[in-house]
């Protein structure tokens, strides 16, 4: 279970404090999918970043499986991400100097798993890019890059998968394919899946929809 308790995030912008998240409270039960929607600048990506421990809230607590991650050190956060969380970015963020298969292998190597090569091949097979294993990110199309990024996010069988506008940079057909992959994994493994998106159609596929505006939760709709 994921729980946000009174989480605020304020940053300095041009010398003035700017509130991105404002006393947000939120509960995401394990195994559920949540879509966060809202206009640009409403704090969607920040929320996701805080959940992954990529950033620290100004105040409040974020509990992941009962543990307050705001109290964790940078290295313990890295361990948490390694074991529990998979992250998919809008801009893919593959390591440019590594091949597709190596990008997929990195999280498993960091977690010191065995059979890294076999697992990586099975993952790249799952995203349908076996023939592209030796290619560098610059040699792949946007859709292909994102599929590799998804394989990387799923590599350590995380219990939580976070995706920040994963289709934002892709055409709709490709985007559809990507979303299918993510929801498939969510259903097959019973992971908690948190998705940030502009696309209301996409959002409607999630168990819960959360509408954010000005850093506040405006509406929470559960799918019947």
């Amino acid at each position: 279970m994921i729980e946000f308790r009174d989480v605020s995030k304020t940053v300095k912008s041009g010398g003035r404090p700017l509130t991105i998240l404002d006393s947000l409270n939120l509960v995401i039960p394990s195994g559920q999918s949540l879509a966060i929607v809202g206009p640009s600048g409403s704090g969607k990506s920040t929320l996701l970043g805080l959940l992954a421990g990529l950033d620290m809230p100004t105040t409040g607590e974020i509990l992941v499986n009962g543990e307050d991650i705001t109290k964790l050190s940078e290295d313990n956060l890295a361990r948490l991400r390694s074991n529990t969380i998979g992250f998919v970015f809008q801009f893919f963020h593959l390591v440019p100097s590594l091949t597709a298969i190596e990008n997929i292998s990195v999280p498993m190597e960091i977690a010191n798993l065995s059979d890294v090569a076999d697992r990586a091949h099975s993952l790249i097979n799952q995203v349908g890019l076996t023939g592209r294993a030796g290619h560098y990110p610059s040699q792949l199309s946007g859709g292909e890059q994102q599929r590799i990024a998804i394989a990387r996010a799923l590599a350590n069988s995380p219990s939580i998968v976070l995706a920040d506008e994963p289709t934002g940079n892709l055409d709709s057909a490709t985007g559809q394919h990507i979303m299918d992959l993510l929801f498939e994994f969510h259903r097959a493994h019973g992971t908690t899946f948190v998705l940030v998106t502009h696309d209301t159609d996409l959002a409607s596929r999630a168990d819960i929809r959360l509408l954010l505006r000005d850093g506040k939760s405006v509406e929470e709709i559960k799918r019947k």
């Binding site: 361990r79 593959l94 390591v95 960091i110």
Partner: protein, 843 residues
């Protein structure tokens, strides 16, 4: 596992960008390994068997025939078995010439007369067959190949030595018992000691060295040395042991090796500065990758390990490349120094210790200089993947501060280790820092000076200058490295010019340029006549009477003779001095204490001493000094102190000058100074004529010495220039690194310029101007530094006037500017080729 894999994978893509990194290390390591290997090779060649060097276990030497006392004691030691073999050899410098009277040529040589049984250790090698004493029997002579070339003689032809005609029987290719590194007046000539007497060279006053070579049963040499030194405390002899010679040679070479390899270390440290700047830029380009790694669960420690691992791999690769480079250079050396190789047989090759030292220093420098910039990795936050933000900068980063201090300390340790002395390390480090600091400051000021060009009319110039002065550009580092290279090269050139100029000036000026040694009393008039006949109305001969004297007591206190310390070369009064007597001061002398005598000869013995003796031994006017002259003790009153300008060698210089009177009737010889014709042929005629007529007289030709000095200065200059070129090369490398590091930004900028209507030519002009200006500044920094340096050395060290040479400075600046501009533009060729659309789309 992750760390190793990741380091290797990263290297695959980043090695191109980090190529400068390992080139910097390779050049530095290459210099160190080369310098150390060469010196170690030379040292092995010279000293691998120093018993052979002395060709004996113990050598007793004296400038006079051995006294009964010495000979008796040696006989006693032979009797009780402490000496197992003894031979006596005699050495003296003299002139030789072809027997053919029509040939006007003569050469000074170092004659060694040896008996049967020589050498005790080692062997004489002849070019044709093996050496035997029999080959010299009955007026045979062995010579070095260079003498045959100089005199245009061949084996079997006659050679005149003194009054005797010898036959050349063989050519010496190597010979033991020659102290290498000691300045010698001529090449070696060997004859049978039996034939020496008939040459007439053992006449009074000639500079003969008598040597007793002793073979001593192995464990007894040290003890016998001490005993003999004690026994001969009052004899005028020197005793040397092979072991001590070995140690001394060892120490000298160790020191030379350490000091010279510091030149390599300076290059490596400069490379280190390059490494540091390359790493800094590299980290900036890796921000995103590092953030991704952190995002997928890598800890900071793992990431640091990845990049340190990468640096280590590059450091090892660079060091190995350096070793390979050094291998090539060392292989080439025999080809380069063919001339020297004739005299000394040396097997040039890389030595294991040099390779190990070079690579470990290379690794250490890679780590030391990259560690601090690498620590910036800790500040990269994974949140940069969500939104653009600058690298977080903590106001004071304690870890970075500690790391910087630790790096400085480690560097100091490395320098100390390489120099073999903390003091030298300290001087070198602070010297380097001061020079680097000055050059850097000059660079900063000059960059300020070009600042007004921001408002220049020309668009290209305006842009070029903005690039230079923009913060974050690598201008500072490039200026330092290129400037330092220019500084080395120009500095040493200037110094060379000044030295040669001053030295030649002293020889020109119609001053005496020939010294005639061992002129006998009864030869004076004939010699003066000979010179006058030859020179006509030109300058005449000046004769200076010389005697040999030893100080035996000062103020009644006995001075320790040839004591331990003396043998080890510490300054002591009791060595033999060449002294003279005259009534007036020479042009290069001034009285600084007491009073100079008037011209009337007296029976009373008075002496004037050189200033340094007053300082070193506290001798004052009014003190009594006792000298041993020609075996007699003579007590003299110190009546004056003289200051001698040793730089002005024309009038000679004497530590002790006596008042005329008491010595005039004693047997002694004269040194004559003469001015010979400047025409080479006439000069050779004069020398050979002199030697034919006065066979015992040795001629030292200052003009020939000048050529030698010039050659020596030239070789030193060549050496330092090479170092300078290598420094400049690493400067160019750092420049290349700076260019390729900032290339992405430049490509982007030029794409925008092109989109806005700028043509390729404009972009090229901006680049050319930018690097041209950097080059001019670097050249100016180096030239200013070089002027300051050469002036300081001329003024403070050599105390001679400084000659300015604007052409050299301007030439240096122009050349540096061209090198930098060409390098910069060529390295940026990509920037010119890139099509703007592709660039902008990729961004």
């Amino acid at each position: 596992m992750f760390v190793v894999l990741m380091a290797l994978r990263e290297l695959r893509s980043s090695w191109r960008r980090l190529a400068v990194f390992f080139a910097c290390i390779a050049i530095g390591v290459g210099s160190i390994v080369t310098l150390r290997s060469v010196i170690q090779s030379v040292r092995n060649g010279l000293a691998h068997e120093s018993r052979t060097m002395l060709s004996a276990d113990l050598v007793i030497s004296s400038n006079d025939p051995f006294t009964e006392g010495v000979l008796n004691r040696v006989a006693v030691e032979e009797g009780n078995g402490r000496i197992s073999q003894k031979i006596e050899t005699i050495e003296l410098p003299t002139m030789v010439r072809p027997a053919d009277k029509s040939r006007d040529i003569a050469r000074m040589v170092e004659l060694r007369a040896v008996p049967l049984g020589f050498p005790l250790y080692g062997s004489v090698e002849l070019e044709s067959g093996s050496y035997s004493h029999a080959s010299m029997r009955d007026r045979g002579v062995l010579v070095k190949p260079e003498l045959l070339a100089q005199l245009n003689l061949d084996i079997g032809e006659p050679l005149l030595i003194g009054n005797e005609t010898f036959t050349i029987r063989g050519v010496i290719s190597s010979e033991p018992g020659r102290d290498i590194g000691v300045f010698s007046l001529g090449s070696r000539v060997m004859i049978d000691v039996v034939d020496l007497s008939t040459t007439g060279l053992l006449s009074f006053g000639s500079r003969v060295s008598y040597q007793l070579l002793l073979r001593v049963p192995e464990p007894l040499a040290d003890e016998l040395l001490v005993d003999l030194q004690r026994a001969f405390a009052n004899e005028f002899v020197r005793i040397r042991s092979y072991r001590r010679a070995d140690n001394r040679i060892g120490e000298n070479f160790q020191q030379a090796e350490n000091y010279l390899s510091l030149a390599g270390l300076v290059i490596l440290i400069l490379g280190g500065i390059g490494v540091s700047s390359v790493t800094r830029v590299f980290i900036h380009q890796k921000i995103k990758s590092v953030a991704i790694l952190k995002c997928v669960g890598a800890t900071t420690r793992q990431i640091l390990a990845v990049y340190i691992g990468q640096i280590l791999l590059l450091g090892i690769a660079g060091s190995l490349l350096g070793v390979i480079l050094a291998g090539f250079v060392v292989e080439m050396i025999p080809l380069l120094v063919g001339e020297v190789a004739q005299f000394i047989e040396i097997d040039y090759g890389l030595t294991l210790s040099a390779v190990l030292q070079g690579t470990s220093v290379g690794l250490a420098v890679s780590l030391i200089f990259s560690l601090v910039p690498l620590l910036a990795l800790r500040h990269i936050k994974p949140s940069v993947l969500l939104r653009q933000e600058a690298l977080a900068k903590n106001r004071i980063d304690l870890v970075q501060l500690v790391a910087t201090t630790a790096a400085a300390f480690m560097l100091m340790l490395v320098v100390t280790w390489q120099a073999g002395s903390f003091q030298v390390a300290f001087i070198l480090t602070s010297g380097f820092l001061v020079v680097a600091g000055l050059l850097y400051t000059a660079g900063v000021i000059l960059v300020r000076v070009v600042q007004p060009l921001h408002h220049a009319r020309s668009f290209a110039l305006r842009h070029a200058v903005r690039h230079i002065t923009r913060s974050g550009s690598q201008t500072g580092v490039v200026l330092l490295a290129v400037g330092l290279g220019t500084f080395f090269i120009l500095g040493v050139r200037r110094l060379q010019e000044n030295l040669v100029e001053n030295f030649s000036m002293q020889v020109e000026e119609g001053a005496p340029d020939m010294f005639l040694l061992d002129v006998q009393k009864d030869q004076r008039e004939a010699l003066a006549q000979f010179i006058t006949n030859f020179n006509g109305n030109g300058p005449t001969l000046t004769l200076i009477p010389v005697l040999r004297a030893r100080v035996v007591a000062v103020r009644g206190q006995e001075v320790n003779l040839d004591s331990f310390e003396d043998v080890r070369g510490r300054g002591s009064l009791s060595r033999e001095y060449t002294v003279t007597y005259r009534s007036s001061l020479e042009g290069n002398e001034q009285v600084s204490g007491g009073t100079w005598w008037d011209s009337t000869p007296t029976e009373e013995v008075e002496v004037s001493i050189e200033e340094s003796l007053q300082g070193r031994f506290g001798i004052q006017p009014g003190d009594q000094m006792t000298f041993n002259i020609l075996g007699r003790d003579v007590t003299a009153l110190v009546s004056s102190i003289r200051k001698v300008d040793w730089g002005d060698f024309r009038a000679g210089g004497f530590m002790f000058v006596f008042r005329p009177g008491p010595f005039e009737d004693l047997p002694h010889t004269y040194i004559a100074t003469a001015h010979g014709p400047s025409d080479v042929k006439a000069r050779a005629e004069l020398v050979s004529g002199l030697v034919r007529r006065f066979s015992n007289v040795s001629v030292i030709d200052l003009r020939e010495v000048l050529v030698t000095v010039r050659n020596v200065i030239e070789s030193v200059t060549l050496g330092v220039t090479t170092v300078g070129v290598v420094v400049l090369l690493s400067g160019v490398l750092i420049l290349l690194g700076a260019v390729s590091m900032t290339k992405f930004q430049r490509i982007y900028e030029s794409a925008i310029l092109k989109t806005l209507g700028g043509r390729t030519k404009l972009v090229a002009t901006i680049l050319l101007l930018e690097y041209g200006v950097v080059g001019v500044i670097a050249g100016a920094v180096g030239a200013i530094g070089a002027m300051g340096f050469s002036w300081a050395v001329a003024y403070f060290v050599f105390e001679m006037p400084w000659v300015s040479n604007p052409i050299l400075s301007i030439g240096g600046i122009v050349l540096t500017a061209i090198i930098v501009a060409v390098t910069g533009v060529v390295a940026s060729a990509d920037v010119l080729r890139h099509k703007p659309l592709a660039t902008l789309r990729a961004e």
